[in-house]
Subunit: 658 residues, 2 copies
Amino acid sequence: MATQPQPQQDPTELPPPPKYHSAIGLWRALFFGRPLATHRADEATLPKFLALPILSSNALSSNAYATEAILAILILKGTGALHFALPAALGICALLIIVSLSYIQIIYAYPHGGGAYPVSKDNLSVGASLVAGASLMVDYMLTVAVSVAAGVAAVITVYPSLHSHIVPLCVVSIIVLTLANVRGVRESGTIFAWPTYIFIFAIIATEVAAMIGLWTHASYIQPAATVGEQIHATNMGLQAVGWYLLLQAFSQGCAALTGLEAVSNTVPLFQKPQDKNAATTMVWMGVLAVLMFFGLTYVTDAMGIQPMSEAEPGYRSVVGMVADKAWPPALHWMFGVVQWTTAIVLLLAANTAFAGFPQLASMMARDGYLPRQLANFGDRLAFTNGIIILAVVATFLILVFHGRVDALLPMYAIGVFIGFTLAQSGMVIRWLKSRAKGWHTGIVINGLGAISTGVVSVIIGVSKFDNGDIISPYFHFGGFYPRYGTWIVMVLVPIFVATFYKIHKHYVDLKEDLSLSRGWAQMPSHNTVLLLVPRLHRGMMEALNYARLISQDIRAIHIETNPENTGQLKLDWEPNAPDVPLLIIESPFRSLVGPLLRYIEVVQTERRDDVVTVVVPELVAHRWWHRLLHNQAGPILRFALFNRKDVVIVNVRYFLER
Amino acid sequence: MATQPQPQQDPTELPPPPKYHSAIGLWRALFFGRPLATHRADEATLPKFLALPILSSNALSSNAYATEAILAILILKGTGALHFALPAALGICALLIIVSLSYIQIIYAYPHGGGAYPVSKDNLSVGASLVAGASLMVDYMLTVAVSVAAGVAAVITVYPSLHSHIVPLCVVSIIVLTLANVRGVRESGTIFAWPTYIFIFAIIATEVAAMIGLWTHASYIQPAATVGEQIHATNMGLQAVGWYLLLQAFSQGCAALTGLEAVSNTVPLFQKPQDKNAATTMVWMGVLAVLMFFGLTYVTDAMGIQPMSEAEPGYRSVVGMVADKAWPPALHWMFGVVQWTTAIVLLLAANTAFAGFPQLASMMARDGYLPRQLANFGDRLAFTNGIIILAVVATFLILVFHGRVDALLPMYAIGVFIGFTLAQSGMVIRWLKSRAKGWHTGIVINGLGAISTGVVSVIIGVSKFDNGDIISPYFHFGGFYPRYGTWIVMVLVPIFVATFYKIHKHYVDLKEDLSLSRGWAQMPSHNTVLLLVPRLHRGMMEALNYARLISQDIRAIHIETNPENTGQLKLDWEPNAPDVPLLIIESPFRSLVGPLLRYIEVVQTERRDDVVTVVVPELVAHRWWHRLLHNQAGPILRFALFNRKDVVIVNVRYFLER
């Protein structure tokens, strides 16, 4: 044997541009974009003016359904209960402000990205962080489904004839989002920044237009003329409506807060100084959220608009009805602007989850609570694996719940609020431990945040536990009323947490099993090489030569599936390979695998200091369609041997010339 | 190294019963039956009383549509042309007798199975045999589609409300047939023998009943009362109908002859004496075919029955209308018997193709004109591969032609007649060469067969070339009239033949390339082993030990996808494997494959007497779901290396304990 030559040329010096080594590589590149080098990772950072539309779209777009969700609960007691939307909205706005302020604390404390998972891991316990992670994962999945469904509902409002195509429209939207996302965050921002700004402007302008119309008693608004009764004349009292229904309405409206955590989760994606830019974005987001949500609820109430059921053809969303009536005829095209930007921004909201979910999954994977593959940056820094999982689950939700917002909402928001509570609690502990500058203010803000979101979590969990008394009149599967709600999340979260622990245990076991400190098996002193010989030809001679190179104990094995061929093989063998014994093994059932495995067992009992090497010779066809003309014995044998211990599989290939 | 020990125990002595080595094996067994040992192959032979129903069902079942096919052409000129069905039927009966007699000659001449393919291969030329093979293959596919479609049409006649479910019913039938067939020919025969006998009896009894009814002027038959005009009073003359239309009607009716070749193709499946038993079965088949077909056409004509279009809801088949009217009210249940046995026997007809097609494919594969895998007896001696191909193509035809008999018929029969012509011509040449006993009679019979089927082939080919002037009024795709007919077969057959030649060329090239007489490469004197090391652990040490066993030139390769891990690897490596150089290869795009392939290229240019072995270590998880927790670098690398010349892939697996 030769000495050990060191490679003369260092192939690492000049990394050439990536080549597509296969059709699959090219296909991946077309769909997923070209791979991005590690050292160019900082290119994928976001300036504020792009971060705002991308990251705030979830929180702001919930205006498309939050007011409607409140009204849909209240109307169960009759139109007279609708005016309780205002106090419910006020409570939600107060929460919005508290949570926004709390998250600004987190942004500064966790400049590397401080979602509920890392914050509770740092300050509370592993268990708490896993509960936070599981809750947020469930909510990310629901965010995609709810946002896409609401976006389609906004389009339906403009084109009622599309009502029967809700599910396909939702599924196509998810597919488009998935492809956009696996190609990277930056591009999505550039494409989608403008619609969000137009959406913010359009909603606020609609609120202003509605108020002007109402104050001037404009004929096109007619608050009371369109409904059967004078709403404010028959306003019901609190006692008639009931506290519990009001809490249910409030809980349903809390969907308006989902997505507030997006900024703090993605601080590392910001331009430098990352914390300051993120905090500014957070402030803007909070202000806009309050302005848009309260304004919409106020004008809806003032205009006497009643919610409709999405189950019925002819459905129009509450925002759509507001925009339809708020604008004078000359400006009525603003109705279209509102609806279309609403739809687009709801897609951007789904996009928020596409950015957040893979990042959360990657953090948890790096800690060993999710499969390692999720930890890897995929090509283009978009975490491809996580994105695809998210898209699949969201599609499943859309299919099960027929793409209906009112069907999906009962399970929504609870996960986010559990996350809120854990994150703020973690911050309280952090302030107590660190006593850093400004800890007094910080602990008050985060303490208020923790308590209020904690209380609201309980309210949501209880009041939306199942949809029995809320949603059934609005949603059914052909006469059957499934009872679901936050209980589904409460079942899923423990299952997720248990799975995280199981995954973690496997990785811990793995590390222990593989630890070098446990020593390792002796080097085998003998190598028995079994060469599989269907018939003797030039390719087989190369395989035989390789076998000779790696061992002196070679046995040629012929599994006799067709006894007619054995004679010719024996004739060919003797003159060409007299040094290697040829063993004919009968196979009365024409199986290749069974007799081989049995013979391997025989060999393995022969001696203990042995390793068994099976040489599987394979012909590689020159043209793709030639592969169809060869039997697939090679792959079948490699597959069958894969689970055999102490067997090394050697694959010697002979390349056909034509 | 040790000496070469001979195995102490001969594992071939007592072949144990087959075990199912995997879930897939068990699944295969459930669907496809237990494997059958080679020496039990003669179990799959057929006694005459089973051969008749299995093999004659195709020829006999065509009664379900042959008369109707003739009438459907004639009625294009009006009801006055319908009486020309009788002369057309007489011509077809004459052909039936000639072809049956010709095939009896073939049965004796080719006791090992004498279809058109082997007979023309023996006596004419390879080209002729490939044309015969291609024609028959096309026709087998059409046989399945036409028979299944006609079977469903028979059911529709009884239950008109199923008219909108024609396609699903056809597809389900094909699936059932496929599963029945891959489980073996014998069982199918036992299950289906009775319906065929009942069908033969029911059709002949219906003919008798109709004739009795007509002769006694029974009130329930009323030939003229049900139609608007006195048919026989307005009979058109030949001039008005036209020779060409009459030829078209005759051609369409020639579908009655398809399947006559089934017996001669499957002589080896018969009980001994095979030739005599097959010939007797052939005689019975011919007699029954003539009796049933002419009788049906005669009573249809006498009863004044007019064909209906299957495109219209309310469609009833001609046989169904005959049976409906022929029986007096007390015996009217015979209508149901006729329809149901017709449906079942049509499924048996499809079954004939399922027996014949894989056998033809296997013959052609053994001659190297089709992929070798088709030559192998699958488990249970049913030629699984061929059956599945046939089922897929037939399903495709059903979907494209909406499961309609009248849509499929224009392409049908031409293939069989080309086969007939080539087989009989081959026999003529054979008689001329052999001058064996009885060659005078033989050459007359086969010569008459060759000439008549040749002439009819031309008639069918021309008169059904496209459906422009025949079928359009009956068949369209929502306003669009596709023009198809025998031209499709005439295009497909040359394509098939060209493919056969291409496949054959590949096998010839292969044999030449692999021939030992061309010598083979020198044994390489040096083996450079590249060991892929993502990180160092116990499993890796075993892989390293194996590498040490097979070569002294080992290089450990670390593709650096994440530079963070490199430090730890270097620390681990030095104390544990000081004898092996560790090479760190940067991968700025985090690809494993690209840098490895480039390094292999570098190694391959280092020296010429070398083989490069890549050791791909892999962890094998203990539980199936643990596999999801490991990255799939092993399979990815093995896949990527598969197409690299002069690289041997060694797969060393480390089995995790838990």
